[in-house]
Amino acid sequence: MTDIQTLHILNKSPEHPRANRCMEMMAAGDGLLLTGSGVLLLATGQLPDASKVFALAPDVDARGLGHIAGNAISVDFTEMVTLTLEAQKVISW
């Protein structure tokens, strides 16, 4: 799918301290996969620009964010698994 060094899986809302740590740790060439409350990052418009951003579609739909999900690449459960397999490293925040 992509060449990703480290895939950061973020399931915490932007208010959670760990979300900030995740942003600080992101390097060029890393990927960010938003799941659960993590998809709320899409609503803040504060996405990291150096990285590929993915968002889990059912979590996006649950929160009524389908209309702004264009800022991220939408993935289903199968694609999420593929992403985690293809990345060199994974950090689950």
């Binding site: 399931n11 809302s13 208010e15 649950a62 009524g64």
Partner: protein
């Protein structure tokens, strides 16, 4: 005695928010004045067009729309939090009043309790 229940947790991630909603409904059941204040990531409860079927949950937007029927006095949302999550008044569910979550607001209630 008037109670303000604060929800600062995002929807769906944890059960604490639903428990707070339940607490508010229980107060209303016994005709105790209760209001809900959504603040921080909690304002995401109030966005229109949620569909939680794909994650096997009930849609909080629909649950929340029962609040006025049960006698919840007001559904309040912190203005600054809405702004940071890109929520305009037009993208909020019906019946939400924008307020500033500050000491003056809390002083209007006898008791303020957080969810979770």
């Amino acid at each position: 005695m008037s109670t303000l229940i604060m929800i600062d947790q995002p929807p769906y991630g944890a059960w604490t928010g639903r428990e707070a909603l339940d607490m508010a409904f229980s107060l209303a059941a016994f005709d105790q004045p209760a209001s809900l204040l959504f603040t921080g990531a909690g304002v995401n409860w109030l966005r229109q067009s949620q569909d939680a079927g794909g994650i096997g949950q009930k849609t909080v937007e629909k649950n929340l729309s029962a609040a006025p029927i049960f006698g919840i006095e007001a559904i309040l949302a912190d203005r600054a939090s809405c702004k940071s999550y890109g929520l305009e008044e037009s993208s909020l569910i019906d019946g939400v009043t924008l307020v500033n979550n500050d000491a003056a607001l809390l002083s209007e209630y006898d008791h303020t309790a957080f969810a979770g």
